[in-house]
């Protein structure tokens, strides 16, 4: 499994700063193409603010549809960063090194994207100011601390702030490298951004301590964020299929499942686009696939619990909902696709070492997982709402409008564009972590066997 390359610092700098010190040919056309989609998305938002939420497919009783599904989806994707960065840092897993920054970045940008959806969903987002800040109670709008919808901004805001700060702190040594490798206005920018990083033992020691301490602080936040998002649904008994205690860990584990899959997708793209074969190797995909198997099995157990308790109560409305979800058109087709893409196709494939070490296979299976996970959120939210009130004057079920599809597309383009813009100015693979791995790994001879070894500091 170990495929270590011995690389000196000069080579590491040269290869990993390729995208920062020079611009790859594909970069600008890609960013411009994504920008077009992003601007199109902002135009759609403008149309919606101008004409009202009626341009979407939302209507009684389905008041939460694609926007909230996508909101939950992107919050889910954001869980990759801390899972990989924090947990693997605390367990001292060597294979995390090339992945951590890109995963943390995905966290930050996917959270930013997720935040857009409840804001635009309000119809008049500028009024949200009154709803989460204790200002001007005379209007009759005030933060209701008892509502999960107010818990959400606190949770996501905390997670976003923490992740951004975590990203920045870990970026300091690399900003120092960029300061030393650039001239002119770029050098001035990196000098200020690096805060004067020199690389003395005090600073390195604090980097290590910072990594561990911030990881330990961020982990409880990571668990709490998606739990709080899940309580938007779970706490209300009014909607069939929602009032279930398992939602909190179910959403968290599902988020890890989709988030880590998104990291796999991203790592494959990074290897292909920037040619980082020395740094992103099949062993990393192998390790991620093993992690995904464990997470996917946990997700399956929680899905099973959620479904079985749906019918456990033997209450007619809940049973009717589950029958609709699994056996009635078009939900049955979506259910089958959700299960196949989320678990039944990728996970058995990951049991084979050939698949785990095949980067193309890992790329496509990770995309399948995220299709399945988006559908999972859709199937949780919409069917329950559509059965919420037995007597409604509208007999149509929820139809997703072209505008909503457009904004879904916008969200993917927005995240990808932000990642590419970041990659132009900052290295996607942490230089100091890669160099640290060169120092802290070596080979050791035991009998006739030469085996990889790591150096562990004694307390």
């Amino acid at each position: 499994m170990q495929q270590r390359r011995i690389l000196d610092e000069f080579t590491v700098n040269h290869e990993l700063l390729r995208g920062n010190l020079a611009t790859p040919k594909w970069w600008l056309p890609t960013v411009l193409g994504l920008l077009v989609v992003v601007l199109f998305g902002f135009t759609l938002m403008g149309i919606m603010f101008n004409r009202g939420l009626g341009v979407t497919g939302l209507s009684r009783p389905v008041y939460w549809g694609l926007f909230i599904t996508t909101f939950v989806f992107w919050v889910g994707i954001s869980h990759a960063g801390i899972m990989i960065s924090a947990i693997l840092r605390l367990t001292q897993a060597e294979w995390r090194r090339p992945v951590t920054r890109a995963a943390e970045l995905l966290t930050v940008f996917s959270l930013l994207t997720a935040l857009f959806f409840p804001l635009i969903h309000a119809g008049r987002p500028w009024r949200i100011f009154y709803w989460i800040t204790p200002y001007d109670f005379a209007r009759g709008i005030f933060p209701n601390a008892r509502s999960p919808l107010v818990w959400d901004p606190f949770a996501i805001g905390t997670y976003l702030t923490g992740s951004t700060l975590f990203l920045y702190v870990a970026l300091l040594p690399d900003l120092g490298v960029l300061r030393d490798r650039t001239t002119g206005w770029k050098r001035a920018f990196y000098t200020v951004a690096s805060l004067g990083w020199r690389g003395n033992p005090r600073q390195w020691r604090l980097q290590t301590v910072a990594g561990i301490l911030l990881s330990a602080l961020m982990l409880p936040i990571f668990v709490s964020v998606h739990s709080i998002v899940s309580w938007d649904f779970a706490v209300t008994p009014a909607v069939e299929g929602w009032h279930s205690t398992v939602f909190a860990p179910y959403f968290v584990v599902g988020a890890v499942h989709s988030g880590v899959s998104a990291v796999v997708t991203m790592m494959a793209l990074m290897r292909w686009l920037w040619g980082w074969d020395n740094y992103i190797r099949p062993e990393h995909f192998d390790a991620l696939a093993r992690l995904l198997i464990v997470v996917a099995c946990a997700w399956l157990a929680l899905t099973f619990a959620e479904l079985i308790f749906g019918v456990y109560s033997l209450e007619a409305p809940e049973r009717a909902l589950r029958e609709m979800q699994m056996f009635e058109w078009p939900w049955n087709l979506l259910f089958i696709i959700f299960f196949l893409t989320g678990f039944a196709i990728p996970v058995p494939l990951w049991f084979f070492k050939r698949v785990r070490n095949n980067i193309a296979m890992m790329f496509w299976t990770s995309i399948l997982v995220n299709i399945g996970m988006w559908l999972e959120r859709f199937l949780i939210i919409v069917p329950g709402l559509s059965r919420k009130q037995p007597f409604v004057f509208t007999w149509d079920s929820y139809q997703v409008s072209p505008l909503e599809w457009g904004l879904l597309l916008w969200s993917f383009a927005w995240v990808m564009m932000l990642m590419l813009l970041f990659s132009k100015f900052f290295p996607l693979i942490p230089l100091f972590e890669t160099k640290e791995s060169q120092v802290f790994t070596t080979d050791v001879q035991i009998g006739r066997v030469t085996m990889p070894a790591v150096i562990r500091e004694l307390d």
Binding site: E9, N144, R146, F154, T158, N200, L214, L217, S224, F440
Partner: protein, 169 residues
């Protein structure tokens, strides 16, 4: 009072850097006046360096206290300012306040920790003193802070250890 100088010796191998640190120690330079600069973290003590204790762990506690105070003020304040009973829950709903209190506590802890990290790293300090950009390419820098009267001695020790270049600032 004699002017303070910053002298940097640049080495191409970690062994030479460690030898320079040993030389400075033997020459009687005070611990804390000389340091090693590297482009990658090495195991603690690899160069025989002195790293004073940090007090980073105090920062998260302070931040957490601030966070929880703000949270209680916000949640209790808003609920008491507009005491509307929603969903049969009490006006001061402790179990709901707990969630916002938890989030703001953790936010306070994280922000304070980051401030602490930057502070304890003695940053920001945009004046790098004696420094060489080759340090981030794998060279080892050994830097000494000394008065004018020991400047030549410091340069001599660094040169004896095999410095490729010596810079003064």
């Amino acid at each position: 009072m004699a002017a303070s100088n910053s002298v940097l010796g640049l080495y191409d191998t970690p062994n030479a850097g460690a030898d320079a640190m040993d030389g400075l120690k033997s020459a009687g330079f005070e611990l804390g006046t000389f340091d090693v600069l590297t482009g990658t973290p090495y195991p603690e003590g690899a160069f025989g360096e002195y790293v004073p204790q940090h007090r980073l762990f105090r920062f998260p506690f302070f931040g957490a206290m601030v966070g929880i105070t703000l949270a209680i003020l916000f949640t209790a304040g808003t609920q008491l300012a507009y005491p509307v009973i929603t969903g049969g829950k009490p006006i001061l709903a402790v179990f709901a306040m707990l969630i916002i209190a938890y989030e703001l506590t953790m936010l306070g802890a994280v922000v304070a920790t980051v401030v602490g990290i930057i502070f304890e790293s003695r940053l920001p300090n945009l004046n790098l003193g004696a420094y060489d950009t080759r340090i981030t390419e794998g060279y080892i820098g050994v830097v000494v802070e000394c008065e004018d009267d020991r400047l030549e001695e410091a340069r001599g020790v660094l040169q004896t250890a095999g410095a490729l270049e010596i810079k003064t600032a």
